[in-house]
Every structure is written in structure tokens, then in C-alpha cells.
Symmetry: C2
Subunit: 226 residues, 2 copies
DNA sequence: GAATTATAAATTATCAATAATATATAATCC
DNA sequence: GGATTATATATTATTGATAATTTATAATTC
């Protein structure tokens, strides 16, 4: 893990911890590290050619993100999600996303709403492509981008920060929603949501987003608990 | 910072990081560290007789809690809250607390609701005492305990975790609500809230909690931006 | 004197080594 | 043989020292 030479004089200088965090997170998403598996500081230090300290910090970051559980002096493990964990999570996420729709429609004027709609439209096109070729990974990114765009429109940083902690996009690898038909259906749900947002129909949009997220949740639960 | 002898063989062993975190947080709440002030790792290490590492981790914790901002290689500062930050924060908090009321009333049977009510009643008594003697600090603790009790009743861990990140109890030191009269009024608001919860009147309770939190927010904003 | 470049000081980021703690394994006792 | 105690091993928590980086100060140039 070299540094110094090739790295441009970037102002927001990268720091080991971040790279390590991303590497471990990738290992989790890729399924190399499965729920319940231990994450051993010294192992990753050796693996990545760094010392224990930065690895520790990276693991703490993942802990704050809810991906990892740590017990003092015993160590860290990839968090195991129970069905209840997932339900709790989606419950809160629905709550936050409903608020984001209300707030966004409240504060955007017609021109801004049109901009948002066109941005959402672009995302939907890409999402459609992902659904067509059954690319779950990319689809999940689009899905996150869609919902995030609405939250961004509220310009509420706190809302964004908390939402990121309970959008479980990262856990997609265990999801059961893999077939193209499911993805296509999901994409159509977003299409409908976009139209309702554009029409400033808060009630309908909130209801649609609730249905959508509940559906995701069910797929998730089936994936985790087969 | 001794350890070892007096500490009981507690299963959830304390670790330096936590003590340090609490100490620094106290310094922030007590106003020793004001918004914008730097938090220097080596200073606190010397101050507390520990090394730099645990202090670093403690600061990272505070960062995750939103109390501190860090830029790589430059250091950490106590976060400065703008009026917008506070509004965003309370907006989300209202959202989460409204959900907690709905969910709690939804899942508790009559006996459980009675238990919750009596617990809330106890807290209110203590709160009344705090208001009487104008003890803002203790009052704030009671206030947090009250709202937290409702959230605990939902048994939704995610809700609890996110709520803790946007309950700004910790920032009370800059609050303008110091006179006994204000505290008394706040306490009465909680009394009313308790009655509405006990009566399972979701709509009224949600409305009351919105008013209450909005009032807190206004006091907060006045305190920050005099 | 203003701008620019060197130098020094302060601070963070990382490392390598050690202490503290927990878990696994072997030895002992009954 | 099963329970209990010692021993060894693995891992985390902490330390003290060093490298990397930024900020402040002095020297230089025009």
C-alpha cells in the first residue's frame, strides 16, 4: 500500500484508515466476510501491509456504520442481522424517507421540482438498463441514488447522515431479489413514485415509498432467513 | 487514570477510550471547549496521563456522534452549529419521536402502557424538583430520560441509535432556557404528553411533542445566536 | 514593502513493541 | 471420567517513538 509518489497533491488527502475501511467493507459486501465472521486487526494489518492502528480505526468506522459489532478485549465481528434488525431498520428508513418527500415537496419551487424530476428520470433510465441485464449490484446503486436525490433535495444534512446509516444498500449481497423480473417491477415502482412526486401528490408518494421499501424488506428477510 | 484495583470484575469492561470520550464530552458540555475550539490529541493525552492512541479513538467517537469535526492532518474541532444545523436536527428528531409514540402505543398492551406511564410519572416528579431549584443540567437529563423511555418502549434499536445522534441534550450548555419559569413550563408540557400517551391519543401526543421540541429548538437557537 | 521561499515548531498519522485480556489446551485432582 | 486448575496461545489495548503534514516564523528577492 504505497503512497507519496503517484498521489496528486489532493487537498482532501487520503488516509490509510479510509482505504482500509473500504477494503474491509468490500470484503463484507463481496461475501468473503460473512455475518458473524471475526475481523482480526493483526490479520488485516499483515494482509494490507500496514500496522494495527489504522486497521483498528477502520473497524471503528464500520462499527459506527452498523456493519460491525465489537466487544472490548474480545474483538469485532461482521454484524449478524436478525429479522427484527431488518424490520427495525426499514421501519426507520420508511419514516425518514417519508419525511424527505414531504420536506422536499415543501421547499422546492416548480422549477426546482422539475430539475429534481429530470435527475430522477435519468437515474430511472439507468436503472432500467440494470434491471434488463440483471445487474443487481449496479441496480442497487441506482436505487440508492434515486432515494438519495430526494433526500439531497431537502438539503437537510442530519436527515442525510442518519439515512445513510439505515439504508442497507450495503447488505445487498445477501438479498434474494436477483431475478430480472423483480428488478423490473422495482424499477416500475420508482417510475410511479417519480410521477407522484412530480405531481406534488405527497400522500400517494409516501404510500408508494412505503410499499416499495416494505417489498425490499421482505426480499431481504427472505434472503437472510431462507 | 488508574485501573485494575477498585474496578469490579464487570463483564462489559471499561476501556480508556470510553472514559476519555466522556471527559472530553464533559469539557464540551461544560463550555470549557467551545464550538470551533481545537481538540489536540497530545494535549489531552498529557492531561489525562494516557497516550495519544486512545485519545484519537475517543475523538473519532465524538466525530461519529456529530459533536466534533475532523480534517485529516489538520485536526479536530468542536463542531460549530449554525441555526440551520439546529433546525435540521430538530426536524429529524421530531420525526423520530413522533414515530416512537405511534410505534410504542401500537405495540404496548394496556398493562405495559401502565408500566410505561408510571415510569414516566417518576421521571416527571424528579423533573419537577429540578425545575424548582433551577438545575438545568439535571433537568436536561430528566428530559432525555423521558423521551428515551418512550423510545425504549418501541424496542427498536435502530430508532434508539439514530435518536441518540440527534437528541442534542448534550449541547444544553449553550441553551438559553435557564430560568425556573421556563423549566416549569417545560415540565408541564411533559405532564400533558404523559396524559395523552396514557389515553392512547396518538394525534394529540404527536402534536404536543412537536410543540415541545419546537420550543426547545427556539430556545436553543436564541442561545446559539444571541 | 509585498510576495516568495526557506526554516522551525506544532500536530497528526503511522509504526513496532509491550501489556492486558480472553480463549484454547494440557495437567491435576477427586 | 468429569470438573477444576494451570499453562500456552491468540488477540486486543496501550504505549512511546518516528514519519508525514500543516502552520507559523524568519530570511530572501524584487
Amino acid at each position: 500500500m504505497e503512497r507519496g509518489s503517484g498521489v496528486p497533491a489532493n487537498h482532501q488527502r487520503k488516509v490509510f484508515r479510509e482505504e482500509i475501511r473500504n477494503t474491509i467493507r468490500e470484503a463484507i459486501f463481496a461475501g468473503e466476510l460473512r455475518p458473524g465472521d471475526r475481523i482480526i486487526e493483526t490479520f488485516w494489518a499483515k494482509e494490507l501491509g500496514v500496522s494495527q492502528g489504522p486497521v483498528r480505526e477502520a473497524i471503528r468506522d464500520l462499527e459506527a456504520q452498523g456493519l460491525v459489532e465489537t466487544v472490548p478485549f474480545k474483538g469485532s465481528r461482521v454484524r449478524t442481522l436478525t429479522e427484527k434488525d431488518i424490520r427495525d431498520n426499514y421501519g426507520v428508513r420508511i419514516c425518514l424517507e417519508s419525511k424527505s418527500i414531504r420536506d422536499a415537496l415543501d421547499r422546492l419551487d416548480d422549477r426546482e421540482l422539475e430539475e429534481l424530476s429530470s435527475r430522477l428520470g435519468e437515474i430511472l433510465e439507468e436503472m432500467d438498463g440494470c434491471a434488463g441485464r440483471g445487474d443487481l449490484r449496479a441496480f442497487t446503486e441506482c436505487d440508492a441514488a434515486f432515494h438519495r436525490a430526494v433526500i439531497d433535495a431537502t438539503e437537510n444534512q442530519v436527515l442525510l447522515r442518519l439515512w445513510e446509516q439505515c439504508n442497507m444498500r450495503n447488505w445487498f449481497s445477501v438479498s434474494a431479489l436477483t431475478d430480472a423480473k423483480s428488478l423490473k417491477r422495482l424499477q416500475q415502482g420508482h417510475q410511479r413514485l417519480l410521477e407522484e412526486i412530480r405531481a406534488r401528490d405527497v400522500r400517494a408518494a409516501v404510500s408508494t415509498v412505503e410499499d416499495h421499501l416494505t417489498g425490499l424488506m421482505d426480499g431481504f428477510i427472505r434472503g437472510v432467513q431462507p
